[in-house]
Symmetry: C2
DNA sequence: AAACTTATTGGGCATTATGCTCAAAAGTCC
DNA sequence: GGACTTTTGAGCATAATGCCCAATAAGTTT
């Protein structure tokens, strides 16, 4: 079978628009048109199409650090017997848990945790361990951010 | 010495503005003023102050999946003797590497990788292993996203 | 209490951006 | 060539922005 991409295909212009928006989140339609040397109408129609697809995930994101949560940690947690709803619900009720992914491995969850301090992290860790479905955890504290979230290279590749 | 917070303190209104922006990334100053029942001038001055601080990190983010990278994986990599620049540079030249953090543990790096398919992930993994500073890796593929990145609860807490 | 600082408000006003429409020109596919 | 989609330029009413200013409200200091 062929590639048959179900996703809407992004062309170079789409990618360039996204790139420009990554660099300047509040760029206006007019400024995008100037920058990319296309008409305003083109930008407008592209953005419209993008809005019902890619841009849904193109949300604003704020780092916990900006809110005073200085410590970030990644945590692996094992859970008992599958992903029961109660456990997941209990986890998502903890504000400091910023992400939860289920990964390959023995019923493993990977959590991202924001805490104000190491002691605070300990506290949150205890909260998590108190949840009945959680079996054991291992935590790795972030010492340094070498590369913050980026998709630029991925977008640039589409630009050709 | 006192707490001496170097970070600008966010008050409830700031948090409410940020919350509104998380929900509607393209909200206008006018609409924010209406929604929060404060004057437009207030919103405008708050945003100005936020811009030189919190909002710098309040960027738009696009998920690799929207670009056709269906597979996300977390990878732990150990590196030889400290974080030498060459190794880090080599890593950041791989477009599929979306994040790099140094974490506690024996000289551990934690990478987030975007790949188009499992085979593609394997390819990227080989690329990484070919870097001289990298000793060994272990990869966990994301099976399911239980909780996408969120800071809402953290912001709501500030709102009181 | 009085003085002082800071934040908020309401008003105005010129400039810019938006949303929408339309028809012509340019490309693309078969 | 004909059919189709995309881009373009133009227009126009409405809305938003970026300033400015002075008055009021709120919070602090002495």
């Amino acid at each position: 079978m062929a590639t048959s991409r179900s996703k809407r295909e992004l062309d170079g212009l789409d990618a360039e628009i996204l790139l420009a928006l990554v660099e300047d989140p509040d760029a206006t339609t007019v400024s995008l048109a100037q920058r990319l040397s296309v008409s305003r109408n083109t930008i407008q129609s592209r953005l419209q199409k993008l809005n019902d697809g890619v841009l849904e995930s193109f949300q604003r994101r704020i780092t916990p650090r900006a809110l005073g949560y200085e410590v970030t940690a990644f945590m692996n947690a094992s859970i008992r017997q599958g992903y029961d709803k109660q456990t997941m619900k209990a986890l998502s009720e903890i504000p400091e848990i910023v992400e939860i992914y289920a990964t390959t491995g023995d019923a493993d969850l990977r959590l991202t945790i924001a805490a104000t301090s190491p002691e605070d992290l300990y506290r949150v860790n205890q909260l998590i361990l108190d949840i009945s479905g959680i079996v054991r955890t291992s935590t790795a504290v972030v010492l340094r951010e070498f590369l913050g979230y980026r998709t630029k290279p991925l977008l640039e590749r589409i630009t050709e």
